[in-house]
Symmetry: C2
Subunit: 213 residues, 2 copies
């Protein structure tokens, strides 16, 4: 992933319609070619507008105009503004997932599970803050999407199991992830002016307390 200097933006891969890392089973009807072209053009346009004017500058009319299509097409492809944002977010999320699944340790496999968990926390903290605007703009479509929340929850549950945590692992995992959500982090960073390192240290402490290891 290459970051521009202008802000927390993502570099779009050449093929925008690539499948997520964990593909769904039935690909009943593939996309028509013009539809695929438009999807890519729309994502590029949205990306460019974000680079220029920020997230709030992204209007559905504006994206459609820049991509040279009608407004209806944008909604056909992405359902809503949140859906468009979620699609944008999906790329960085997919890339990040790859580094968790098959990247170098300690984030990737190979390290002891507790070390992986702590590396996960740090990485997730940074990623969430970097994409905070996009995540917020994606709203429910981003949080509840298959790619975003579920993968993270599954991974933490798995690591907790490996560590040997006892108790309601699903809910303990949620408790460990909740302080890494955007609203909580923004409250701490922007309003209470907390230091990022302090938050990280506290999260490591929290992980030890919750896992009791």
């Amino acid at each position: 992933m290459v970051w521009t200097t202008a802000g927390p933006l993502l570099q779009l891969p050449s093929l925008m319609s690539e499948r997520p890392l964990l593909p769904l089973l039935g690909d009943a009807a593939p996309e028509r070619r013009d539809a695929a072209r438009n999807r890519e053009a729309l994502l590029v346009a949205a990306q460019e507008i974000i680079e220029t004017c920020g997230i709030d500058g992204v209007t559905m009319d504006g994206v459609a105009a820049r991509a040279g299509v009608g407004k209806g097409t944008v909604f056909r492809r992405f359902g809503s503004r949140e859906g468009l944002m979620a699609a944008l977010l999906n790329f960085s999320e997919t890339e990040w997932q790859a580094s968790v699944i098959s990247g170098p340790p300690p984030l990737g496999p190979g390290a002891p599970p507790m070390e992986r968990l702590l590396a996960f926390g740090r990485s997730r903290l940074e990623t969430t803050l970097r994409f905070a605007d996009l995540i917020r703009a994606a709203g429910a479509a981003g949080t509840r999407s298959y790619a975003a929340y579920s993968f993270v929850a599954m991974h933490v549950r798995y690591l907790m199991g490996e560590i040997g945590v006892t108790g309601d692992i699903a809910l303990l995992a949620t408790a460990l992830l909740a302080p890494l959500e955007v609203p909580i982090l923004e409250q701490q960073v922007q309003i209470e002016g907390m230091d990022l390192d302090r938050i990280h240290v506290a999260w490591v402490d929290l992980a030890h307390r919750i896992t009791q290891h």
Copy 2:
């Protein structure tokens, strides 16, 4: 507080403009009488619309029309739709705060701090779910408002101090509160279909792990 049978709605006190329990220091300019009348009429109107059509049925035009004022007045009084929702929320929040500050134990003072903390968690869990729609509609204005977040955080920090918790109490309190936020709870209840009692039991376990008591 008297609950109607129609849904999770609040009974408005007779004087809508009463001050919060922890008043701000400088009340520089008191409200003009017509302005106070309008504020009350607007809150009543909004409340009635919620009872009839739910939160999504609340439009700023609708509230203004029902209160017999112009739309501009609504925005002057509450700043935004979120601000209006936050004002509505403030009443139940204030009442709940009263039961924490001066109500019967174990929620109120008198019980050992750990018992108070557990009672707090249960009560907060129920209250948050009851007002979930309103809290979500209040958005940032609700979360960041003085009355809502700050009071809760202060109270948990205080109890943690009394219990004798060591560590970064401010951030441990946040970690304990984060799983009680609306988005997390709705994810668990609505999407993962979790039982309310299970969530409560897990939160109690979490409180023991985090406080290490």
